[in-house]
């Protein structure tokens, strides 16, 4: 039997970023996590196979459900978020789907802050509707708006504390209070902050979602998503979550909360939603993401430092109308930033040009070092015009409400020499 390692309590974030979930491989002693590029796993005998399919034994069956490389990523993110357990998925969007499929029945509702990644607005507002799930969007900058939108069918509250496309911070503690009173879980998309800058579960959130494509993998190489459960939500209390507390017909009548307790939600997301819809993360992407996470703390420090310099530069530029970055003294969110993100409010933010749409397009097309593309959280600095790209599917009103109006440019500040980034913006602004 495996000898036991030390209890994690007391290990710092940096240690866990490097070690959590990844002990040396027992057969060969390989120190780095191997890429288990395999679809399936040999059973010991017929009974072992049956026990695995019944979930009465732990083990590997098929890489759509579990894979040893992907498991390391799952445990590592669960550890960094101080959660109980995690499930990885092919993308952040897939992780969101797994979460809501596990939570909701047709006819159910949830309330979401409207300050979200544009793709989430479309997923929640349009595609989820076809499944019978209704999302009510509210202005989350006043947390009371969540309370006002709750109905007897509301099963969750959703927000990005550090909101994409940047600059806005939602008062999580107040949203958690409202969720607790309503007996429903609070879900935070923590992609923009990464667990190094902000840990939603520490403020009482129940589920955290990441697009690991961004800061966690960190190098613009690998798609992925993950959902983490705190293990603290009582699914039984009000009978609101039959999917967790009633026998599951899609799993021979197993009751997930009773059987798996504080990791019942992720177990069900894996055993039913991931099994039946199939958006599994590939072992190669998990390997790249694990490797990325090992330097998360170092990268985030520099991302934030560079972003602060660039935001201050832009705020002083005569052609810039406004800069929305919570690290600026002028930001109305500076206080919330210091509370929830004391190490810095991320490195993605927006600014507007006095020349409006035309000037914005010119900057995006004139930069040499910033890459014009639709991603954030890369080592490279990135630039985009959200209104014509990530937030294109929204109406003009929705674009403005999401902080992605026609004059808005979004930057994701990378890890290059900050002097070079400043020089590039300077020549592009003209």
């Amino acid at each position: 039997m495996a000898d036991r390692g030390k209890h994690q309590t007391g290990f710092g974030f940096e240690t866990r970023a490097i070690h959590a979930g990844a002990r040396p491989e027992p057969v060969t002693g390989a120190r780095n996590t191997p890429i288990y590029q395999t679809t399936s796993y040999v059973f010991e005998d017929a009974e072992h196979a049956a026990d695995l399919f019944n979930l009465s034994r732990f083990g590997f069956i098929y890489s759509r459900l579990t894979n040893p490389t992907v498991s390391v990523l799952e445990e590592r993110v669960a550890s960094l978020e101080n959660g109980r357990a995690a499930v990885a998925a092919a993308s952040g969007h897939a992780a969101q789907f797994l979460t809501f499929f596990t939570l909701l029945e047709p006819g159910d509702e949830f309330v979401s802050s409207r300050n979200l990644y544009g793709g989430s607005l479309t997923q929640f507002g349009l595609s989820f509707k076809k499944l019978g799930w209704t999302c009510h969007f509210v202005d989350g900058t006043d947390p009371e708006n969540f309370r006002r939108a709750i109905t007897p069918n509301t099963k969750a509250l959703f927000l990005e504390v550090l909101a994409n496309p940047g600059g806005i911070i939602i008062d999580l503690e107040k949203v958690v209070e409202i969720g607790n009173e309503a007996g429903i879980p609070v879900i935070v998309d923590n992609t923009m902050a990464s667990p190094y800058l902000h840990q939603p579960l520490e403020w009482g959130a129940d589920i955290v979602i990441h697009s690991t494509t961004k800061y966690l993998s960190g190098h613009g190489t690998s798609m992925g998503g993950v959902l983490v459960e705190s293990g603290k939500f009582d699914w039984m209390k009000d009978g609101k979550f039959p999917s967790m507390t009633e026998p599951e017909p899609a799993y021979h009548g197993l009751t997930f909360y009773e059987t798996f307790g504080d990791f019942g939600f992720t177990t069900k997301a894996r055993a039913v939603a991931l099994r039946d819809f199939g958006p599994a993360q590939s072992p190669m992407n998990a390997f790249m993401t694990i490797t990325g996470i090992e330097t998360l703390h170092l990268r985030m420090e520099r991302h934030v430092a560079n972003a602060q310099v660039i935001a201050e530069y832009l705020e002083g530029h005569e052609k810039v109308a406004w800069v929305s970055y919570a690290g600026l003294k002028s930001s109305p969110y500076r206080e919330l930033a210091q509370k929830y993100l004391p190490k810095g409010p991320g490195a993605v933010f927006t600014f507007g040009l006095k020349g409006g749409y035309e000037a914005g397009v010119r900057v995006v097309e004139t930069v040499e070092l910033f890459s014009h593309l639709a991603n954030v959280g890369d080592t490279r600095s990135l630039i985009i015009h959200p209104a014509s790209t990530t937030h294109r599917q929204l109406s003009p009103e929705q674009q403005i409400a999401a902080g992605a109006g026609p004059d808005v440019i979004r930057l994701s500040v990378g890890l290059e020499s900050v002097e070079d980034l400043l020089r590039d913006l300077d020549q592009a602004l003209g």
Binding site: M1, K6, R23, T66, S71, A85
Partner: protein, 170 residues
């Protein structure tokens, strides 16, 4: 996570020294958590003796089912309780009364907690674990739970020894 905290070394010590477990509330219904736990613990080399008055006299996973703890003819070290918190109190008292059968641990399952009964059992010299599952704790401490993305809270750069299917001790 439970509000109760137990040191990993305490849990591991129990799992390592225990050989036979009396499981109160063991069910022959194969989708019940007790059935899962019994089968799993057997696969790790423990003998598990089922206790369930409704199924007394029948066989369950190769073991005869007993009506109560006192009816078990053999020695056992742990009583694993799959009953509600109130009923768990009476079973803990019953166990303390017959602890000369070798009993040294009362283990109440996930969601089962009876602080008063725990104090009585501890006063009788027994170790009490509440709101935990030995299957889950075994899986967590020896790495299997990590395969399901669970945060084992274990950090180590030591090379783990290979697991044998029916081997129990670390």
């Amino acid at each position: 996570m439970s509000e109760l905290e137990y040191d990993d070394a305490l849990i591991a010590g129990i799992l390592e020294r225990t050989e036979t477990i009396a499981m109160v509330g063991a069910s022959s219904n194969w989708v019940r958590p007790s059935h899962f736990a019994m089968k799993y613990l057997q696969s790790k080399g423990y003998r598990v003796i089922p206790v369930n008055p409704r199924e007394a006299g029948a066989m369950l996973l190769g073991e005869p089912v007993y009506a109560d703890l006192a009816s078990i003819p053999d020695q056992f070290q742990m009583v694993d309780i799959f009953r509600n918190s109130e009923a768990a109190g009476g079973i803990a008292d019953e166990a303390a009364a017959i602890k000369d059968k070798g009993i040294d641990v009362i283990w109440m399952q996930l969601g089962v907690r009876n602080d008063e009964a725990a104090m009585r059992a501890e006063a009788a010299g027994l170790t009490v674990i509440m709101d935990r599952c030995p299957k889950i704790e075994y899986g967590r401490l020896y790495g299997e739970l990590s395969w399901s993305g669970v945060n084992s809270r274990i950090i180590s750069a030591k090379r783990p020894r290979l697991m044998q299917r029916t081997q129990r001790r670390g």
